[in-house]
Symmetry: D2
Subunit: 278 residues, 4 copies
Amino acid sequence: MHTHILLVDCRDEEGLVHRVTGVLYRHNCNIISNGEFVEKETGHFFMRTEFWGQVSDEEITGELKTALPPDTRIKLVKKLKKKIVIFATKEHHCLGDLLLRNNFSEMSADILAVVSNHSLLKELTDKFGIPFHYIGHEDLSRSAHEEQILQIIDGLEPEYIILAKYMRVLSRNFVSMFPHRIINIHHSFLPAFIGANPYKKAFDRGVKIIGATAHFVTDDLDEGPIISQGVVPVDHTHSVDDMIRAGREVERLVLAQSLKLVLEDRVFVHNNKTIIFD
Amino acid sequence: MHTHILLVDCRDEEGLVHRVTGVLYRHNCNIISNGEFVEKETGHFFMRTEFWGQVSDEEITGELKTALPPDTRIKLVKKLKKKIVIFATKEHHCLGDLLLRNNFSEMSADILAVVSNHSLLKELTDKFGIPFHYIGHEDLSRSAHEEQILQIIDGLEPEYIILAKYMRVLSRNFVSMFPHRIINIHHSFLPAFIGANPYKKAFDRGVKIIGATAHFVTDDLDEGPIISQGVVPVDHTHSVDDMIRAGREVERLVLAQSLKLVLEDRVFVHNNKTIIFD
Amino acid sequence: MHTHILLVDCRDEEGLVHRVTGVLYRHNCNIISNGEFVEKETGHFFMRTEFWGQVSDEEITGELKTALPPDTRIKLVKKLKKKIVIFATKEHHCLGDLLLRNNFSEMSADILAVVSNHSLLKELTDKFGIPFHYIGHEDLSRSAHEEQILQIIDGLEPEYIILAKYMRVLSRNFVSMFPHRIINIHHSFLPAFIGANPYKKAFDRGVKIIGATAHFVTDDLDEGPIISQGVVPVDHTHSVDDMIRAGREVERLVLAQSLKLVLEDRVFVHNNKTIIFD
Amino acid sequence: MHTHILLVDCRDEEGLVHRVTGVLYRHNCNIISNGEFVEKETGHFFMRTEFWGQVSDEEITGELKTALPPDTRIKLVKKLKKKIVIFATKEHHCLGDLLLRNNFSEMSADILAVVSNHSLLKELTDKFGIPFHYIGHEDLSRSAHEEQILQIIDGLEPEYIILAKYMRVLSRNFVSMFPHRIINIHHSFLPAFIGANPYKKAFDRGVKIIGATAHFVTDDLDEGPIISQGVVPVDHTHSVDDMIRAGREVERLVLAQSLKLVLEDRVFVHNNKTIIFD
């Protein structure tokens, strides 16, 4: 007996909820929670069901395929920990937070390794007994650098890659290998202050609130589907450094929140937006 | 063709979602949104469905009764404006906000009348062309006072009574006539500072956040099911009066939010708690 | 005996607080509250003092001029209500909120008149007995339209002009006549979604938080010094219209907050930023 | 040359700011920031000044004593890291957060040691090279247990003791030895849910927001001066355990915020309230 999570999305039509729940009912599954949403603009249907039962994933998936429209995306998973790899550079706050949560089994994930283009965070990572892979980017082309990273990742087979303040832009090629499986924490309240030095820009503009954005990484820098955002008030007494410090608190909170949503299979991606059942 | 809202709650058992959606499917209804929740502690099932179709309410309700367990509570309503009556005393901020929203048809309700134990807010109410009933409580027993109020209400048949800073305690008898149909805005973050003068108590305690709570009124003062709460930061520079002023902003926001939820039939009450599909 | 507010700003140097308080001390003024801030980047000194005393404004100002560096800006005012004029177009929520607050003397201001390029809000304004000036912009050049507005304003001599969702861009010429005396509420969390249709842009981008920004109006559209910002969470269930509705709540709250700060002389403007003593 | 922080509080009278700044001016100190507040209820004056200069603390303090009323409390400190000791029991989230911040020198404090009545958190503390003192309370009277703790503390001479989810009540005697020097994080939005199991109580009451409170420890359990509070929204889908998890996030944030305020000498305590210059 296991808890399963079923994600279904397709063009909307009548009877979809009834058909999906019919398959589960016939297999004596008990629905724990069920969320449904129809996006009016595109007429698209989304459903997330958490259920309890002793079933064959293949059988259920097969029957759902028969019952639902041909283009339906179906994802059926057991509620288990995911495997993730974290990329970081020099800033420790997001990484430290995730290492702590991992150490006490507070995430629906196991951290397999930390990959970094600097060696600075090795000491922190070592404290928690997680493998640290230093892969410097100096004197390397972007593709050569990513090639080395891929060799590490290939052996680990992570389901998600978490960019915990990883300060390198990933190539189109790299990103395409992990569609909607790379999550970045951006140090601004997107789409404000896209690109580099957002806190300096926020300081110069004299804003009264700053923020952070967790999003899936796509080809376009800082333009991927947003998962979660958070804000923190600032005022004229905040220097750029004060803003950076205040921003760190919200960055790690937003990253942790968005990871919770993704790792519990609560997030659909559709047309560069997320539909989230929380 | 109408938008309908269906609320169903009963003891949890297998196949409930399937059975409910089956009835709707057979009547060619199209589900717009669907929320479901099972409370583990009590094993109770809650479902709210918004659907579109040309159906007979009696037919649907009848078939649902057949399909579902005997004790099931079923509420099926057309998505229409509710009729409400507002009770107020001397403070204008919540009343003024609701009169403005009503004036511009921004609520899922029409305000039929304002009832008050003071005449102070007549001028404000008159501006918006809403009948104002002054029913003073001086020299009257509580029951005699409420008797006069009931005569007004009886002719109006409101679905909900909104206590917009009405500073009189309603009798057990009165409350029992409108079960889960009286909504109060309490000027504190319940259960902190139950009873009178919450802002004075908050000031004396030196709290750093104050709040407001919208709840259904039950026999126990300030103990009814909570619908919505909000907070606002305060500090040592706030006098009691400053706290009262800051509190007003959150009071009217929280009251408006909770009314939206109730008037759109998004709220279940169960064991002195609310289950809300928003 | 009056409460006075003194605002002083100049290049930072030693002894400024001592010199300012010395002048007040010699006139037997009692300081109620005192805030001071030195901006490190520009080495600029800001001080706001609220004090109680029976003094001649000219005398105090004269002595301060002698005691302080030559370029010092000195503003000394009695704590009294300001005179304001509100500009609006078709949306009522900010105007309605300000009319209510004005009606119950809750602002440190008196609304002298409402000016609008549409007649839609006349009925609302009339309810509160405030003069409404409809000045249509059709078939008029921008300067001709503003000329008519100025004729109204010239007779009223307002200290501040409040753009409560006024949907016309003011000319450089008009703005220059009221430096740091025009306050706008912008329906986005600036600098995100500058320009028209911010909620549509927010919807398209799939953001999880939207906001509003109150700022002084300068030549550059949406680029003036920010006074206050606020946010509200949204999600995939929000249509553009839902975002607009949610945004209205935060717009009027942010406008009211920023007005409080400005009308109580708590705001310095320096290099397109605000320094606020609240 | 050092940054100094001066805290002064006394009964309010005319000229206090002028007198304090006069002393600093005569010693060629440059004021970086200055906050002042007069509590009207008690007529009490509070002033915090951060200044830069090469001065003798004894000289400045001596001159201030002469210049100010006899009962004035004067605290003059160099802006340096404080020494702290952390008490914990079994929960790791606050301790882990503080160890991380300490490890990267992000607090205005150095953690000298962790004291615990359980051995569970030794492994975590060891990772960061901080001494861990396990002092079990089984078979010991409260005073005997505290006696052992005091032996550890006596050697360390911490300026503050931080109760990072330390689940033992400290005796009146112990508390009296560290007046306003023990900081506790309480897992509720005080004064709601005083005492044990606040999350269970919050769940039973069906609240929509939960919170955390950091306060100085006094004789009365959960009744000491509040430093900082924070909240997080919850709903019907939150079990008690979910509330505990959500609460942890705000607990550690609130504890970190309040420590920042205390360690930077921004907090006055007066009549069971805090006056905070942030």
